[in-house]
């Protein structure tokens, strides 16, 4: 797959060797080192024409520049040296110390300017004065625990205004130093200094319904299915498992829904203006058992999933959202896509095994033939 070679000049490229931010449109799978897996993936999908909310990535260079310019770099790594995974208290203390350092150090200079400009441009693009964004960590190395350790610290939703954006970016950087992340690196003898992080700043989808989907059946590894899970509001309830989502199992070849489960969706993650952030609100009683997706939406999601899988050439794990402010199909968004890791790594066991047509016929004759 050719990298997207759109020569959009980056006005923020103030120093020749460094990009502090990169628009998603400039990214592709070759951008991994600069912007991490998640952001590179978003760029890759945009390049294929998949509908992704716009945004930009704060590069790994920005992180390095920040901890250098603020002078906290050495302090951080000193605090972490000599830690043992068994000393939980020390671990927690070191983590707290480092995270505080990062959160409180004032971001300035080129990095801040770049993020300010990036956010301003995003607001212009979205024709909104202060566009609400999701601020998410994006790891560069597979060794670095991120999505599989998805916690509260590495994703911030419905962030509005440049100050909050800056603040969220710093918190994402700080998530590199959660107790878990620190001990993981110690266990794997991965030097803290070598770890880099990028942060994605992406327009929030004002989701009426959102969720995840897999281009195989996560229950049994069946490659012929797309499995969609969705619930009302933002996708975090599905991702975090705090709600029982509706589930759709769809055959990829003929696009038939082979299984459909409607669950009681009692809460939804929505933006609350009064609280100034997202909350888990109660879903109206009559909506709880209503199917959250229409057939045309299911079909479109399956189509997107298939396109993504074909492009990546492997089973994918995808997050999607449907915006309440637009009409179908413009309201369908892919928020994230990454290779599926569980089944792809398992050894393939044959289901039927070596059998001739005749043997199969004999077996069939002998069965008490049952249908479901």
């Amino acid at each position: 797959m050719e990298p997207a070679t759109k020569p959009i000049p980056n006005p923020l490229k103030l120093e020749r060797e460094m990009d502090y931010i990169l628009d998603f449109e400039e990214l592709n799978k070759n951008s991994l080192q600069m912007v991490g897996g998640k952001n590179a993936s978003l760029g890759e999908m945009i390049g294929v024409g998949i509908h992704v909310p716009p945004g930009f990535a704060v590069t790994t260079d920005s992180y390095l520049r920040f901890i250098t310019d603020t002078g906290i770099k050495d302090t951080i790594f000193q605090a972490l040296s000599g830690l043992s995974v068994d000393d939980v208290e020390a671990l927690n203390n070191a983590s707290a110390e480092v995270q505080n350092l990062i959160n409180n150090a004032p971001m300035s200079g080129n990095v801040r300017a770049a993020i300010e400009e990036g956010y301003a441009q995003l607001c212009t693009k979205c024709v909104v004065e202060t566009v609400p964004v999701a601020v998410r960590s994006s790891a560069t190395a597979e060794d670095l625990p991120t999505a599989s350790f998805a916690g509260q610290q590495d994703t911030y939703l419905w962030v509005e205004g440049i100050e909050k954006v800056i603040d969220s970016v710093q918190r994402c950087w700080a998530s590199l130093f959660t107790p878990r992340a620190i001990s993981y690196r110690i266990k794997n003898e991965f030097p803290h200094e070598k770890v880099l992080i990028s942060v994605g700043v992406q327009k929030m989808v004002d989701a009426k319904v959102a969720g995840v989907m897999f281009t195989l059946n996560p229950t049994d590894g069946d490659l012929s299915k797309v499995v969609i899970e969705g619930s009302w509001g933002l996708g975090e309830t599905v991702v975090s498992g705090s709600v029982n989502p509706d589930k759709f199992v769809v055959d990829k070849v003929l696009l038939e829904t082979t299984e459909k489960t409607i669950s009681t969706k009692h809460i939804e993650c929505v933006y609350d203006r009064n609280k100034g952030g997202v909350i888990n609100a109660d879903v109206a009683a009559d909506m709880q058992c209503t199917c959250c997706l229409e057939p045309q939406e299911v079909r479109e999601l399956v189509k997107l999933a298939k396109d993504i899988e074909v492009h990546y050439g492997c089973p994918m794990d995808i997050e999607w959202a449907i915006d309440k402010n637009h009409l179908f199909p413009d309201n369908m968004f892919i928020v994230q896509a990454r290779p599926e890791t569980v089944w792809s790594q398992r050894k393939t066991e044959p289901v039927i095994g070596k059998k001739s047509g005749y043997q199969l016929l004999m077996e069939q004759a002998m069965k008490r033939i049952k249908i479901s």
């Binding site: 059946n217 049994d220 590894g221 069946d222 490659l223 012929s224 299915k225 199992v249 055959d251 990829k252 070849v253 003929l254 696009l255 038939e256 082979t258 299984e259 057939p295 393939t348 066991e349 044959p350 289901v351 039927i352 095994g353 070596k354 059998k355 001739s356 047509g357 005749y358 199969l360 016929l361 004999m362 077996e363 069939q364 004759a365 002998m366 069965k367 008490r368 033939i369 049952k370 249908i371």
Partner: protein
């Protein structure tokens, strides 16, 4: 929809037949009636209306085909190829409607005995399939020729011809001939049906085997997907239509012929006009050449004498030709692309195959698929030869007997012979022979037979207004017999839906029907309900066909309709396959479409989900 009471199907012995049908029992042989001698067993079975083979009230003589297949289908399963866990399919008449039931598996010891024989016997057929198919076709065509060769005396002469007496008497005469000929016809019919099932049981077994493989590899895969991978384009069933296409093209190339064929008027009128010119005669010659065997195709299913075939109902093929010629002149393509169907099927199979991870599994899938494709051709091809070609020969011969009976004062019209079953006709013929033998002015019981004909016709007419229960007896926990599932589309879910319909909901309250998603697409259009196949001429462009089941011989109609909805039929039934051929949305196996939907209702047919919605009622 109104709330329904929990339902059960009526007990077959308690089920009441409307009083207008009084006297119906005598039309059919005694073993077709629910009876107290077999009562205990009968009450425990699950009987459902056979709308594929008997969608309409059963004329007595037409029952012969059902009799024949009851024996034939069943014996291959139970006694010949010994499919281990299966038994036969039984039939009963209730009024003039036929119910069938799949009989539960035999005891385990018997299953074991069958298994041993099954393995040996099936292996041979499996290994030699193509060769056996060729042999089958040869022997079946020979049987048809044999039936064609049966001589039906035109009359019982005043005096037997001299050459039957001098120089030496033959020893037996027309009084014997008429009985022997009719017996021969009946025997040949039964033999033909013995041939019919020779490989068919295996075909369905192969289908189920493939379905099983698919379900293991792709859990939850739909019947729809499996059917689409197995079923391809018919070969012989679509020859008749291909011949029409060729004749239509020929017409365009011959001056004046196209204009005659496009005109209004009957086939006879057009033939008379064509005979007047050289080009016209040339065309008629080509038509004649195509006739045997392809125009022996029935205008309907081939199960009923009144459907007619193209060779004796020339208005039908001529009306198809008329529309083909018009379309050709409009620059349209008239030939259906059978290649397209096969290509789509192959693509679907390839896509599924790609999704198989293990090499061993992929091999198994390929083996299973090749097995079913090889064997399945038989299912597709035999239909034309048996139900169409062979039955057409039968009907023509029987009508000769009908003529004889008319001429001898037994019945009023030729087709009235079909009001007597195959056991009764020898009686009628014997009376004719006897009357002839006894001498001049010997009375026959003509009025008696004619009165019977009248009464039976009335019963059949009354029955066509009646909607009997879709099923009787005890619904099974699960439906297990393969033919039942595959061909009749009767599944556990279907039975549950029928049970729902047994409650107090009236037809008018129902606005949605469910069936198999047999052919993709969603459309809306006005319904045309066809219960009697002769109503086919009422079909208008853009109608949604609603019928008990559809027929490949209706193929040209599929160019007019927008979608099809049927009462019965699974994914590999003729209805499903034909609709996919034509790219029309289809929902089959709804169970109740022809009872619930009325002509003129606006329907939304969703062939993707198998749902038919009555958007607006007519009138």
């Amino acid at each position: 929809m109104a709330e329904k009471k929990a339902a059960r199907f009526p007990d077959p012995h308690e089920f009441q037949v409307p009083s207008e049908l009084e006297g119906w029992e005598e039309m059919y042989p005694s073993h077709y009636l629910f009876s107290k001698e077999r009562g205990e067993w009968e009450s425990k079975q699950f009987w459902y209306l056979d709308k594929i083979h008997a969608p309409e009230p059963m004329p007595p003589l037409d029952l012969i085909f059902q009799e024949a297949w009851q024996i034939s289908l069943s014996q291959y399963t139970t006694r010949v190829f010994c499919i281990p866990p299966a038994q036969g399919i039984a039939q009963r008449m209730v009024g003039p409607y036929m119910y069938i039931c799949a009989i539960a598996p035999p005891p385990d010891e018997v299953i074991g005995e069958k298994a041993q024989r099954f393995e040996k016997r099936v292996f041979y057929v499996f290994e030699h399939y193509d060769e056996l198919w060729d042999k089958w076709l040869t022997k079946f065509k020979a049987l048809g020729k044999e039936m064609e060769a049966v001589v039906v005396p035109k009359e019982l002469p005043k005096f037997v011809p001299e050459d039957q007496v001098l120089p030496a008497p033959t020893g037996y005469y027309v009084s014997y001939d008429i009985l022997e000929s009719f017996n021969n016809l009946v025997n040949q019919m039964f033999k033909g049906w013995q041939y019919h099932f020779e490989m068919l049981n295996l075909t369905y077994l192969a289908y189920l085997m493939f379905g099983d493989v698919c379900r293991k590899l792709f859990p939850g895969i739909s019947e729809s997907a499996i059917g689409k991978m197995v079923a391809g384009a018919y070969v012989s069933m679509f020859r008749p239509e291909e011949e029409l296409c060729q004749l239509s093209r020929l017409a365009i190339s011959l001056s004046g012929v196209a204009n005659i064929l496009k005109g209004e008027g009957t086939a006879d009128q057009k033939i008379a006009a064509l005979e007047k010119s050289e080009d016209g005669n040339k065309w008629l010659e080509a038509f004649d050449k195509a006739k045997d065997p392809w125009f022996y195709v029935s205008c309907g299913s081939g199960w009923f004498h009144y459907e007619g075939s193209w060779i004796n109902s020339l208005d039908i093929p001529y009306s198809y030709i008329k529309s083909y010629v018009e379309r050709l002149e409009n620059g349209e393509t008239i030939e259906r692309s059978l290649d397209k169907v096969d290509k789509e099927r192959d693509e679907t199979v390839a896509k599924y195959r790609e999704l198989i991870k293990s090499d061993e599994d992929r091999d198994a899938f390929n083996n299973a698929y090749n097995t079913v494709r090889t064997i399945y051709r038989y299912a597709e091809d035999h239909l034309f030869w048996v139900e169409h070609w062979f039955h057409t020969i039968w009907f023509a011969k029987v009508r000769k007997f009908g003529r004889l009976l008319v001429d001898n004062g037994i019945i009023n019209e030729v087709d009235d012979i079909f009001m007597f079953n195959r056991y009764e006709i020898p009686e009628l013929l014997t009376e004719v022979a006897t009357g002839w033998a006894l001498g001049v002015d010997i009375p026959v019981r003509g009025d008696y037979y004619k009165a019977k004909v009248d009464k039976r016709k009335k019963i059949l007419k009354a029955a066509s207004e009646w909607n009997p229960s879709p099923a009787l007896g005890v619904p099974p926990e699960e439906v297990a017999e393969p033919f039942t599932i595959m061909l009749w589309g009767v599944t556990t879910d279907k039975v549950k839906e029928w049970l729902k319909g047994m409650g107090e909901v009236s037809a008018e309250d129902v606005s949605e029907l469910k069936g198999f998603a047999s052919s993709a697409g969603v459309i809306e259009g006005p319904a045309r309900v066809l219960k009697l196949l002769k109503e086919i001429v009422d079909i208008k462009e853009g109608d949604v066909l609603v019928s008990p089941s559809t027929n490949p011989s209706w193929a040209p109609v599929f160019t007019k309709i927008k979608a099809a909805v049927t009462d019965i039929g699974g994914l590999t039934s003729h209805a499903a396959i034909v609709c996919r051929e034509y790219g029309l949305p289809a929902v089959t196996g709804t169970g109740v479409a022809t009872s619930i939907i009325k002509t003129g209702d606006i329907l939304k047919v969703d062939g993707d989900t198998g749902v038919v919605t009555i958007v607006k009622r007519a009138g």
